[in-house]
C-alpha cells in the first residue's frame, strides 16, 4: 500500500492509466500510484482527487477492493474540478489523498439477503461492495441490485448491469424515470422496485446510495417492507475540504460525514434526515 504521508493534506501523485467514458458527462478513470505502490481501501470509501492547478474534490472509489494494483473512480463532471478531471487523459497525473471514511459493512451482512439500491451516479460508490459481495457470493442469501436512472441513456455501468442480470445468483432490477418506446424495461422510481420486493425483509441488509431525497424515500420504503432501520445503510454527501475531519465543513448534526460517514447506519441518522438545513 502506498504509505500515507504524515501530513494528511499532501496529495500523492498517481498516473491515469485508462479513461473510459460511461455517459455523456460521466467517466471512469483507473490510476496507479506513481511510485508503483499498491492501494487498498474498503468498499464505500472515497478519495480526495486533486487536479493540478484547479482544485480538489471528494470522489468515491468505484473499483474492486480486492484489486490493489490500481484505484478506480467514476465521476460525473458537474463542477470546475470534475470538469477538469474530465479533460484529463491516460498518462496525465493526478493527486490522491485517501482513502477516507467509513465503508459498506459487507461482512456484517453475511447470512442476509443483500439489497443494493442505487440512484443515478450513486451506483458507483456501491460497485465495490457489489464486487465484494459477489466474490463471497455463498455467504449471502439473495443478492439484489435495484437501480434507478433518469433515462435509459443515463444508466451507469450498463454492460455490467446486463452481465449481472445474466447471472443466476443475482437479481437486477433497473428502472428509469422517463423513457420512450425503445426502452423495454421498467419506468418509474426506484422505490417501486423496492416495493416489489424479492428479498426477505426480516433478513435483509440494504445499502442505499443516491441523491439524499431518493435515499430518504428508499429507506422509508424498505422500512415499510419490514426491513429494520438498523439493517439499512446510506451514503451521505456534504461539502468537504479535507476529507479527514479537520476542516469542519461536512458536519451533520454530531457527525463528520467524512470520517463518521459517508456510510451511515440509517437508524442512527434517520431523525436528522427530516431536519431542514441541518
Amino acid at each position: 500500500m502506498t504509505s500515507m504521508p504524515k501530513d494528511p493534506m499532501l496529495p500523492v501523485p498517481f498516473r491515469i492509466e485508462r479513461v473510459q467514458r460511461e455517459l455523456s458527462d460521466t467517466f471512469t478513470m483507473e490510476m496507479v500510484a506513481k511510485d508503483g505502490g499498491t492501494f487498498s481501501f474498503k468498499a464505500g470509501q472515497f478519495n480526495m482527487l486533486y487536479v493540478f492547478g484547479v482544485g480538489e474534490v471528494p470522489i468515491s472509489i468505484s473499483g474492486d477492493p480486492a484489486d490493489r494494483s490500481k484505484v478506480v473512480h467514476t465521476t460525473r463532471a458537474v463542477g470546475a474540478v470534475t470538469k477538469a478531471l474530465d479533460a484529463l487523459k491516460a498518462g496525465d497525473e493526478i493527486g490522491v489523498r485517501g482513502p477516507f471514511g467509513t465503508d459498506w459493512p459487507v461482512e456484517a451482512a453475511y447470512g442476509h439477503d443483500l439489497v443494493f439500491v442505487a440512484g443515478g451516479v450513486g451506483l458507483a460508490p456501491l460497485r465495490p461492495a457489489i464486487y465484494q459481495a459477489m466474490a463471497n457470493r455463498e455467504k449471502f442469501g439473495r443478492v439484489v441490485v435495484l437501480y434507478g436512472a433518469r433515462t435509459p441513456e443515463d444508466i451507469l455501468f450498463k454492460k455490467e448491469l446486463e452481465r449481472w442480470r445474466g447471472r443466476f445468483d443475482m437479481d437486477v432490477g433497473v428502472t428509469v424515470d422517463r423513457a420512450t418506446g425503445k426502452w423495454s424495461g421498467n419506468v418509474g422510481v426506484v422505490t417501486k422496485l423496492v416495493a416489489r420486493g424479492g428479498f426477505d425483509p426480516l433478513h435483509t441488509t440494504a445499502f442505499v446510495c443516491g441523491p439524499e431525497v431518493m435515499m430518504r424515500y428508499v429507506a422509508a420504503e424498505l422500512e415499510k417492507k419490514g426491513v429494520a432501520r438498523s439493517s439499512v445503510w446510506v451514503s451521505m454527501e456534504r461539502n468537504m475540504k479535507c476529507g479527514c475531519g479537520l476542516c469542519g465543513h461536512c458536519q451533520w448534526g454530531p457527525h463528520f460525514v467524512c470520517k463518521d460517514g459517508p456510510v451511515f447506519r440509517y437508524d442512527r441518522i434517520a431523525d436528522m434526515f427530516s431536519i431542514r438545513e441541518l
Partner: protein, 212 residues
C-alpha cells in the same frame, strides 16, 4: 364453473385482492375475465372510455403519453402483481393515458359497469375495492411526484452570477444631443471599431449651427 373457480383463484393469488372475503370475491368474479395482449397491443387508449381495470398477472405494460412529433414518452411501467387503471372510478370515466403491452401480457380485467353496479348495491364490496385502490393511487401519486423532482438531473455549478432582469429605464425626454458615440464602436459586431454614426454626427452639427 371451472372458469369461475379459476378466476376466483387468480383473484385470490393476486396481491391486489389478497385476503379478500370469499363472498366479496365471488361478486368480483362475476365481473372479471381473463385477457391476453400481444406486444404492442393497447390495453386502453388515452381519451377512450375507461370501462375496465386490470390486474396484471404476467408481462409489462407501459403507461405512456403520445407526444406529437416525438416517440411516446413512457411515464410508468406496470408489471406482474400490479393493478392498472383507475379512471373507471372517477367521472367522466375517460382514460388519460395509453396503456401498451411491452411484453406478452396476461391480465384479469374487470368490467367497470358491472362492478360499479355491484359496489353501489353492496357497500361492503364498494368499500373493499376502494380501500385497496386508494393506497395504490397514493403510491402512484408519490412516485410521479418523485419523478418530477428529476433527482438525477444535472445541477452543476455553472450558473450566471445574477439572473438578468431587464429594468425599465426611461430615457430623458427631449434629449436630442446624441453626442455619445461609445456605442458606435459596437454598432456592427463584425466591424467593432470602424462603424460610424453619421446621422447622429450630422444632427449634432446641425444642432450646433442652430445653437451658434
Amino acid at each position: 364453473m371451472v372458469q369461475t373457480e379459476t378466476l376466483g383463484r387468480v383473484i385470490d393469488e393476486h396481491p391486489f385482492f389478497q385476503g379478500i372475503d370469499a363472498g366479496l370475491r365471488e361478486l368480483l368474479v362475476g365481473c372479471a375475465k381473463n385477457e391476453r395482449f400481444e406486444v404492442g397491443e393497447f390495453l386502453f387508449r388515452n381519451g377512450g372510455k375507461a370501462d375496465k381495470f386490470f390486474l396484471v398477472r404476467a408481462g409489462t405494460v407501459a403507461v405512456e403519453v403520445d407526444v406529437p412529433g416525438k416517440p411516446p414518452i413512457i411515464i410508468e411501467t406496470v408489471g406482474e402483481g400490479e393493478v392498472l387503471g383507475w379512471s373507471w372510478i372517477v367521472a367522466p370515466h375517460i382514460a388519460s393515458f395509453d396503456a401498451r403491452a411491452m411484453t406478452l401480457t396476461r391480465a384479469l380485467s374487470f368490467d367497470a359497469k358491472c362492478l360499479l353496479k355491484k359496489m353501489a348495491a353492496d357497500p361492503a364490496l364498494g368499500y373493499e375495492v376502494l380501500r385497496r385502490f386508494v393506497p395504490v393511487m397514493a403510491h402512484r401519486l408519490q412516485a410521479s411526484r418523485m419523478q418530477m423532482l428529476d433527482l438525477y438531473g444535472p445541477d452543476g455549478e455553472d450558473r450566471p452570477a445574477k439572473k438578468v432582469k431587464i429594468e425599465v429605464v426611461k430615457a430623458v425626454k427631449g434629449s436630442k444631443g446624441k453626442n455619445r458615440k461609445a456605442d458606435a464602436l459596437l454598432a456592427a459586431p463584425e466591424k467593432p471599431l470602424k462603424a460610424t454614426r453619421k446621422a447622429d454626427k450630422e444632427k449634432a452639427s446641425k444642432k450646433q449651427k442652430k445653437a451658434g
